[in-house]
Every structure is written in C-alpha cells, then in structure tokens.
C-alpha cells in the first residue's frame, strides 16, 4: 500500500468522496489481490503450525490442536490408519492452497502488468 502511494486517494478526495468511500471504493480494490494473497499465505502458515501450538495451548484434543498435532497424537496412540487419513487430508489441503496461490500469482501478475502500464 505504501508503494502504491496515496495519489488515487487524493484524487478521490478532491472529487468529493468521504474518507470511508475512498477506502472502500479506491484503497480496498487496489490492494484486494495482495490482501487475499496475504490471507492465503497466513492460512497456510497457520495450518501447519506445530511447535508453538504444542507449547502454548497444551494440545487438548479437539480443542487446541492443529492438524499436525492431531496426527502426532493419533500416531502416538498407534492409530496409524487414522493418522495417515488426517495426514492425507493435510497434504490435500496443502495442494489446494498451492493451487490457489499459483492461481492468485497468475491473476496478480496481470494486475502488476496493468499497473506498470499505467
């Protein structure tokens, strides 16, 4: 947002837009792809969280576990089938995230091209 500058916002203000209108109609649309990209990466990071959750939350099953922690719990209880099922699910989610990230990067590249052409 800093690199975009506030030229567009200033233009909107001189045209009589309020601060809120400027934010919703100008600022948000300008950053929406970067914002979505950030949310996605953050989500991927959260999904794989292991150590911090284990130490801080006390890993109570069904309440404060993440998927990797859940896999560990199942594995330690010799429930291999369940552990592998959850692991496959996690791998699948990772693939979905990767696909979305690739798609976003592809979309985002268009936006960047449009921007530099501006």
């Amino acid at each position: 947002m800093q690199s975009l500058g506030n030229n567009d916002e200033e233009a909107a203000l001189t045209l009589g837009a309020s601060g809120w209108q400027t934010f919703v109609k100008i600022t948000l649309p300008n950053v929406k792809w970067s914002l979505l990209y950030g949310v996605l990466l953050c989500n991927a990071r959260a999904m794989g969280e292991f150590g911090a959750v284990a130490v801080v939350s006390g890993k109570i099953r069904g309440l404060t576990t993440t998927m990797p922690l859940h896999i560990e719990i199942l594995y330690n209880e010799y429930m291999s089938a369940a552990a592998f099922a959850v692991a496959s699910l996690l791998a699948l989610l990772a693939l979905v995230t990767l696909a979305m990230k690739t798609w976003l990067e592809w979309r985002f590249a268009d936006e960047i091209a449009a921007r530099s052409g501006h």
Partner: protein, 186 residues
C-alpha cells in the same frame, strides 16, 4: 460557476525548508493562469494547498472572499488534474468520470440515467466517445490525460487546477491538447 481566488501571504514549511514563502495572488473568475518556475519552486505545493490536500502554514486562501480553511475538500468543489493523472486503474473510463457524481450524498446525487447522460456528454467533450468501457491501462497517455480532465470537470468544479498537465506527453500531443484546453476554457 467559477469564483475568484485570492491568495494572501500563503506560506508552507517542510521542516526547515520553506517550500512556499509569502505568495499573494488574485485570480479573477474565468481567468486562465499559469504558474511557471523551475522544479522544486513550489508550484505543486501551491496547487495542493489551494485544493486542500496540503495544510497551509501561514496566510489565507479565499474563494469569492470566503476563507477556504474552514471548507472541506468536498465543499471546495475543486477539479484537480494530477501530474500522473491518478486515474482509478480498477475502473473503466466511464466509471472514472462518474466517480465524483456517484459519491455525492443521496439528496445531491443525480439519478443513474442523469449520471450516464453527463458521462457521455463529457466523453464527447474530450473527444473520447466509444472508449467508455476501456480501462486506463488500455488507452494512450494523451487519452488518459483527457479522461483525467473529464473526471475533474464532472463535478462542475468552481476552480480547475492542472498540475503539469502536459508534462508526460510528447510535443505533438501536448500542442494539440493545449490548444484544445484553451478552446474549452473559452
């Protein structure tokens, strides 16, 4: 529709650096004024202060004798064409021009049909008929310049400020647009 603009001892300070020092200027309604000076001499700062984008550190700016420091940006009703045009890149040409009308409060806003009528009128005026669905990245520099001008004119400004409006254009387009702007002003 246009007003007289009076600057009284306007000053602007950026830290220790005096960007604008005691400028006084009286502009009559309907007058076309150009500010000349080397880069860094404060032309843009002066325009931005008149538009209300920059706070003034001293002096007064009056529109028709009314001190503008108490007016909001919206109430000043100024058309401002930026050096780099600052078109909204996620909006089509028509939406860019209509923006200033669409953001008005409900009781001041023209109807949707009135807005589209005015947008096509402005597109005709700046000779860009047929380009309303294009995006800013899909038109040339001279066309962007005219879109920026149409967008500023859409709000029926009392004062039109142009910050180096032809700086980014080649000599030929610049000459044409300058002539065109003079005709428009008349």
């Amino acid at each position: 529709m246009s007003v007289s603009v009076t600057l009284e001892n306007v000053a602007k300070q950026y830290g220790a650096f005096a960007a604008v020092r005691g400028v006084s200027l009286a502009i009559q309604p309907g007058e076309l004024i150009a500010l000349l000076g080397p880069s860094g001499s404060g032309k843009t700062t002066l325009l931005r202060m008149m538009a209300g984008l920059e706070a003034i550190d001293g002096g007064n700016i009056l529109f028709d004798g009314i001190d503008t420091s108490r007016l909001s940006l919206r109430d000043r009703r100024i058309g401002f064409v930026f050096q780099n045009y600052a078109l909204f890149r996620h909006m089509s040409v028509a939406d860019n021009i209509a923006f200033g009308l669409k953001v008005r409060t409900r009781n001041e806003r023209p109807s949707a049909s009135e807005i589209s009528r005015r947008v096509s009128g402005l597109l005709e005026l700046v000779q860009l008929g047929g380009l309303e669905k294009r995006f800013p990245s899909q038109i040339s520099g001279g066309q962007r310049q005219r879109v920026a001008l149409a967008r500023a004119l859409a709000i029926e400004p009392r004062v039109l400020l142009l910050d180096e409006p032809f700086g980014a254009l080649d000599a030929k387009v610049r000459k044409d647009l300058r002539q065109w702007l003079r005709d428009l002003h008349r």
